[in-house]
Symmetry: C2
Subunit: 81 residues, 2 copies
């Protein structure tokens, strides 16, 4: 089973990397660009084939390692291999 | 309109960051973890309300700035604001 995890900064947390991208897009001539936010995307292959237990595992992974719960949110999708 | 862009390393490109995550998950006691790949996730707000032209814009953004087409792939979804 494959987990596709998105980790994003919480609303209100300053995102200088996103601002840099927005400025660079403006400099390249892209108009009408509003807010840009950068996050992380992580794909994890799991041996587990049970959806419920895989969900629990990925949740624990995010909370213990992958996301900083003080400033980040996470969401994920599971996909059968 | 909001674009949700995922940028991932192409298959075969070495991903030391992903390997580090896989090792750290193992050290934390998560078993059955296979390959881990890390990519980027970017959200861009666009003033454009036309789906076809927004799609063209986001494609150009990815190819010109956001993704390194030599080693990375991109995919994106558009969402009406």
């Amino acid at each position: 089973m494959k987990a596709r995890i998105k980790i994003t900064l919480k609303n209100g947390v300053l995102d200088p990397q996103g601002k840099a991208i927005a400025n660079a897009l403006g400099a390249l001539g892209f108009d009408g660009v509003g807010d840009v936010r950068q996050g992380k995307y992580i794909e994890v292959e799991l041996d587990d084939t049970n959806r419920a237990s895989a969900e629990k595992t990925v949740k624990a992974m995010c909370e213990q390692l992958l996301a900083n719960m003080v400033i980040e949110n996470y969401s994920f999708e599971l996909e059968d291999a």
